[in-house]
Symmetry: C2
Subunit: 354 residues, 2 copies
């Protein structure tokens, strides 16, 4: 019988719908856990496909907003949703301590869907990907080398079908996905402008991430006018992360045959009901293509993406800005902060470094 | 010097914005016209590329709503817009009486953009297409063989990329375009449901046009529930003609990877401002593809479309329902009636039969 160790957890108190989440929607609790994949009573063998991991880095992602709400109105397939009274679920980087799944063994490093706790039994191992490259920061597998990186690569190159010289606009441009879309757009020979919510973020975009221009949307009382200023010729490609007023203004500024990739609409997630968008006739007038997408449809491009991005990372030609807080107990504030823009770059929670 | 003949015209009184057009927005006037392409004074030859036509059939199309409004808010390229004090412009079928354009000669039958008057000088001849097949009703070149037919064919086969067995929904399904989309969907092996605004139109769809099901949207107080009733599996393809509440409900009922072709949004054209659509997050959740399109991008498919549709017309396998009123003076009521659903099928105004 393996010894019990304490297991700190962040528990969802209750579903959060129609409002901003707060720290008090979660609480920290300490349980005990046996660091062995458990034997099934009376059968003499462990259940199959269970992986016990030590969580190293946990990821704060806007899409987690849907995992903590009552999703009867939103039908999203294939996700593990959070349950009140259980730990928050989300992406993370972890080390395998024990496994009854032949694909994973003790010592493996993995990224995928896990739980907000020090140690997790993962039974749904479909999302777990073994980490092969450890010469880059492990935390990158919550960001540039994980789900957000895959989203940026698939969303920009596969969904937006960019051409050299295209005018590209990215909202939430200093976020986990946006900062990559902007850099990928520059690599593709596009002109790229980003919007973000503070002077510091705008400076980051222009001075460190290679955006041609950037603006603070909170200081623009007329987003339509702001976009006309930065895109006098109009926008060919819009990478949509925010929705609401920004989408409304973008529609007025799209060029004919423009493409909009809808990755997310973070401005809408905490409202009692979403804002109505009025400029949809522009889709017909300008023959726009609007595609919703999710990284989950692009598992097959991960090897190609890693071949593409790892050399750029190693050469310093693509950079990645992380906002790392230490300690699980700081997780609730970090997650809540995503929705007020408190994070500066990709929000990560570090639990242990190996 | 050619003799002058009288030329009855329907004149736009003033731009119509933010409300339903009424008959009194137009008036009938009689001018005189010389039935010869005029000579340019002192040069001894006529201006090039002018075609004088006798208008035979005029087309009432929802898109004409944009031609009679002040379009500073709506940027649509390449159209001839109406000017207050001048005849309404729109599509029609006409016979060439005289021409200084070498591509057209006296006696040619053409369809394309013309004016609401008995005789027109057409200087912008780009939209004119010579009619080659006269064993079908000439009026069909305002509908099934003209702009609406091209829109239905391009929109359904090129934009919606239908597959056999797809669940297809068409709004304004008894209209000039919708009635064709439904029939094309059946030819493609799809299951197709249409919505329309009266019992008679619903009966037409089910009994004469081969739709699998149809419903009267005016009798449904919950469009979401209606769509769930007709599409318990969800919708793969939505051919959008109406916008507003119907689009809102459709978004909730789309299947993953569904396609929406936006042909028009007639419910929105007469409002002070368009309705806001709230369910756009469904685009991301379900990875929808939404494409605006216009027939103007599909000139190249006209020969292919005629090869496809003419045999079906001759065999009676595709039918086309027209609502033909006689006389230019009945034009304003016919045009206005489009926006209240008065028309039963494609609305045409017959001026002369040859």
């Amino acid at each position: 019988m393996a010894k019990l160790v304490s297991n700190k957890q962040v528990i969802l108190r209750d579903y959060v719908s129609g409002r901003y989440p707060t720290e008090s929607d979660m609480y920290v609790k300490t349980s005990n856990i046996s660091l062995k994949v458990p034997l099934v009573q009376g059968q003499g063998e462990g259940p199959r496909n269970v992986v016990l991991v030590k969580n190293l880095y946990l990821s704060c992602d806007p899409m987690m907003r849907f995992l903590i709400m009552d999703t009867s109105h939103y039908k999203m397939s294939k996700y593990d949703y959070c349950t009140p009274g259980s730990p928050i679920c989300g992406y993370g980087v972890a080390k395998v301590l024990d496994s009854s799944n032949p694909e994973f063994k003790e010592g493996d490093l993995v990224w995928g869907l896990t739980r907000w706790e020090e140690y997790s039994f993962i039974t749904n191992t479909e999302s777990l990907i073994k980490i092969q490259h450890t010469d880059v920061p492990l935390s990158y597998y919550t960001g540039i080398l994980g789900m957000p990186g895959k989203s940026a690569y698939a969303g920009f190159f596969e969904v937006c079908t960019p051409k050299k010289g295209d005018y590209v606009f990215v909202s939430a441009a200093s976020g986990a996905v946006g900062q990559l879309v902007g850099q990928f757009a520059k690599l593709a020979g596009c002109y790229v402008v980003g919007s973000a919510g503070s002077k510091e973020k705008v400076d980051l975009l222009k001075n460190n991430l290679g955006f041609d221009e950037a603006f603070n949307y909170k200081e623009e009382h007329d987003l339509n006018a702001a976009l006309k200023r930065y895109f006098p010729q109009g926008i060919d490609v819009y990478f949509e992360n925010v929705g609401g007023d920004m989408l409304e203004a973008v529609l007025l500024n799209m060029r004919e045959h423009g493409r909009i990739a809808i990755c997310g609409m973070i401005s809408q997630y905490n409202l009692p009901e979403p804002q109505g968008i009025k400029n949809l006739l522009q889709i017909a007038f300008k023959r726009l293509h609007i595609h919703g997408f999710t990284h989950r449809d692009y598992d097959h491009i991960v090897p190609k993406y890693l071949d593409f991005v790892l050399p750029y990372i190693r050469q310093g030609k693509v950079v990645y800005v992380e906002d790392i807080v230490e300690g699980l107990e700081n997780g609730p504030a970090a997650l809540v902060g995503l929705f007020t823009g408190r994070n500066f770059g990709k929000q990560v929670i570090a639990l242990a470094h190996q």
